[in-house]
């Protein structure tokens, strides 16, 4: 689990903070999650990613870092989703095949969101298209993905 936080946050101290927070949340919310659909693992990782996003999107949290460090972190996140070699992110299962079947824009946008934690706005800026376009790429892509995986 720590690997996910490190990948998204780029710094050990932030990753460990996210992991601690996630563990506490998991501990507290386990009861209300009881009987919910889906696997325990899927839920636990989702809680962790949400904590990572909270840290990423809390401007004041990152403001204490030197500007060059912030730039480094942003670039490292950008590199998490390579144009080639993205398949490694999906592992050996069917998810990779189904992602492969998507158009490049949708696939990239989905991976940027899930793996690197970019927001709609950040993704649209990086893809050089309007916000609405990014949103519809992602929605269309996810719908195809669900169909392919079902």
């Amino acid at each position: 689990m720590r690997g996910v936080a490190r990948r998204m946050l780029g710094r050990d101290d932030l990753a460990d903070e996210a992991l601690q927070d996630a563990m506490v949340l998991i501990w507290r919310k386990a009861a209300q999650q009881a009987g919910g659909a889906g696997s325990a693992r899927g839920w636990i990782y989702a809680v962790l990613r949400n904590r990572c996003l909270t840290i990423l999107r809390d401007g004041s949290r990152l403001a204490s870092l030197p500007p060059e460090e912030l730039t480094r972190l942003q670039e490292a996140r950008q590199d998490l989703v390579p144009d080639d070699g993205w398949r490694l992110l999906a592992g050996p299962g069917r998810l990779g095949d189904c992602l492969q079947a998507l158009d490049d824009h949708s696939r990239r946008a989905i991976l940027m969101a899930h793996v690197a934690g970019f927001s709609h706005g950040e993704i649209s800026a990086r893809q050089g298209v309007p916000l609405g376009t990014t949103k519809s790429w992602i929605r269309r892509g996810l719908a195809s993905l669900k169909e392919c995986l079902s």
């Binding site: 720590r2 690997g3 996910v4 490190r6 990948r7 050990d12 990753a15 460990d16 903070e17 992991l19 601690q20 927070d21 563990m23 506490v24 949340l25 998991i26 501990w27 507290r28 386990a30 009861a31 999650q33 009881a34 009987g35 919910g36 659909a37 889906g38 696997s39 325990a40 693992r41 899927g42 839920w43 636990i44 990782y45 989702a46 962790l48 990613r49 949400n50 904590r51 996003l53 909270t54 999107r57 490694l88 992110l89 999906a90 592992g91 998810l95 990779g96 989905i110 991976l111 969101a113 899930h114 793996v115 927001s119 709609h120 992602i138 929605r139 996810l142 719908a143 993905l145 669900k146």
Partner: protein
């Protein structure tokens, strides 16, 4: 609800699962999910489908001091204190410094087991809310990755759940063991033909205790021929007494 609403909700579930909502939107959506199990199910399904993207992250071992900090925070939460997420800040200096390395390692396992065990135990236990396990052990492999969870109910009944696949060569079984005491030595809790959730009905044993060892080994088909573990250890862990 008409089709357009459903489609819109499905799209929102996607945005939520991908982390594309603002904090406010996400909080609203979580309220919605609590009232609409189908919606929560949609999100859970997406989480599961996309899980390989999380599992592909390069594994990273927990840092020193992590378990101590976590344990301290959980104690506060359990005591009714409500430390806001983010309140944790380097707890190593006070906490772990007095402990020599070996007990500290044990504690690391315990704290991690505590959280993961509670989460998994409650999640899996929805259909049988009445009995509570006396101890929960999260079994980690030699890489420190959780592989299985054993909940011991103390009435010679335990439940095992796997959180990762186990590679089983043909002609082998998985056998679950516990070490109630050095005198008794390792005792078999049961033999499994695969890494699937199962109820284990072991022999008559003393009630399980905090820090009791549980492990799973790979044995010849049908279980160990000697009544003691003979094959490689797949994963092991120390139990944590429930009721913090």
């Amino acid at each position: 609800m008409n089709g357009t609403d459903r489609a819109e909700l499905a799209a929102l579930a996607g945005d939520y699962a991908l982390g594309l909502m603002s904090a406010t939107e996400a909080a609203l959506f979580e309220t919605l999910m609590q009232r609409d199990p189908a919606l929560a199910g949609e999100v859970a399904l997406l989480n599961d489908r996309l899980l390989p993207l999380d599992l592909s992250a390069e594994p990273a071992p927990l840092p020193e001091g992590f378990a101590e900090g976590l344990r301290a925070r959980l104690r506060e939460v359990a005591a009714g204190g409500d430390p806001a997420p983010g309140a944790w800040a380097g707890t190593e200096p006070g906490g772990a410094a007095n402990l020599n390395r070996a007990p500290w390692r044990r504690r690391a396992g315990l704290a991690a087991a505590l959280v993961i065990g509670v989460a998994l135990g409650l999640l899996g236990g929805a259909q049988r809310p009445a009995p509570q396990p006396i101890v929960v052990a999260v079994l980690l492999d030699d890489q420190g990755q959780p592989r299985a969870v054993i909940e011991d109910y103390g009435n010679d009944t335990a439940q095992i759940r796997f959180v990762a696949d186990v590679e089983m060569p043909p002609g082998t079984s998985i056998e679950a063991w516990t070490l109630p005491s050095q005198d008794l030595g390792p005792v078999s809790l049961g033999v499994l033909d695969g890494a699937r959730a199962a109820v284990l009905r072991g022999p008559d044993l003393p009630p399980p205790m905090d820090a009791q060892l549980y492990e799973i080994t790979l044995e010849p088909l049908g279980g160990s021929p000697t009544g003691r573990p003979t094959g490689p250890i797949i994963a092991k862990g120390l139990a944590v007494a429930q009721g913090l």
